[in-house]
């Protein structure tokens, strides 16, 4: 497919890692505006704060304050089109979800869950 509709087919689409595990959604698309050349897609973002910012700056601030509890480095998570391995219903990228920034919340909750509750394995 030569042409792609960014809003219809890329924005808010599920992102999977190289093992087909869910990584998150495409929450943002960065466009590089260039003089004399058509704009290009600089990178895509998977980040909760980015998504909330689409509703307004106020929501983004609130989300960021909350996210500070579990976010380590690497936020917002970004990837380029070069890293995309497959593009259809979902977008599959050449990344390991467990090591990627969007999983910080997952790791943080595992810490709190495993430590406190039996049976969570």
């Amino acid at each position: 497919m030569k042409n792609i509709d960014l809003v219809r087919d890329v924005l808010d689409t599920q992102v999977l890692d190289r093992e087909q595990r869910p990584l998150g959604k495409v929450d943002g698309i960065a466009l590089e505006l260039r003089e004399g050349s058509p704009p290009r897609v600089a990178y895509l973002e998977v980040d909760g704060v980015t998504a909330w910012r689409r509703l307004g700056e106020r929501y983004a601030r609130w989300a960021a304050k909350l996210a500070r509890h579990w976010q380590r480095e690497g936020h917002p998570f970004r990837f380029t089109w070069r890293q995309v391995r497959d593009f259809g219903i979902d977008i599959e990228i050449d990344v390991d979800a467990e090591r990627a920034a969007p999983f910080d919340l997952e790791h943080w909750l595992r810490e709190k869950l495993i430590r406190r509750i039996p049976g969570g394995r």
Binding site: I4, V7, L31, R54
Partner: protein
């Protein structure tokens, strides 16, 4: 000189033409592959505004489309004719009359 913008924040925003007339809302950004890159070919500016925020009226309108009532109108703006100013509304550098129009029975989606 290049600038990076957060495209998702402009979806659904109003676009005006060179004479200041309202063209519609930014609906779609069509890109093509160029090596490993994606470059913009054109923008689709349509008549509906669901994309920016929740709108019950827009859901209702889409439902009505299903029954074939009403059409979506809009313009196709080439990549070199849309400006993203630091402040203010999106501006098309051409006049509405000089743009390619489209009319669809069903919305292009989003």
């Amino acid at each position: 000189m290049s600038r990076v913008i957060a495209l998702e924040r402009f979806i659904g925003h109003i676009v005006r033409d060179a004479e200041g007339r309202k063209l519609g809302h930014l609906h779609e950004v069509r890109v093509r592959r160029q090596g490993d890159d994606l470059v913009v070919r054109e923008y689709v500016v349509g008549s509906a505004g669901l994309l920016e925020r929740f709108s019950l009226a827009q859901f209702a309108r889409e439902v009505v489309f299903i029954f074939g009532i009403g059409r979506m109108h809009g313009y196709v703006v080439p990549w070199d004719s849309l400006e993203f100013p630091e402040k203010g509304e999106l501006r098309c550098t051409r006049r509405a009359a000089d743009l390619q129009r489209f009319s669809a029975e069903r919305p292009a989606g989003k």
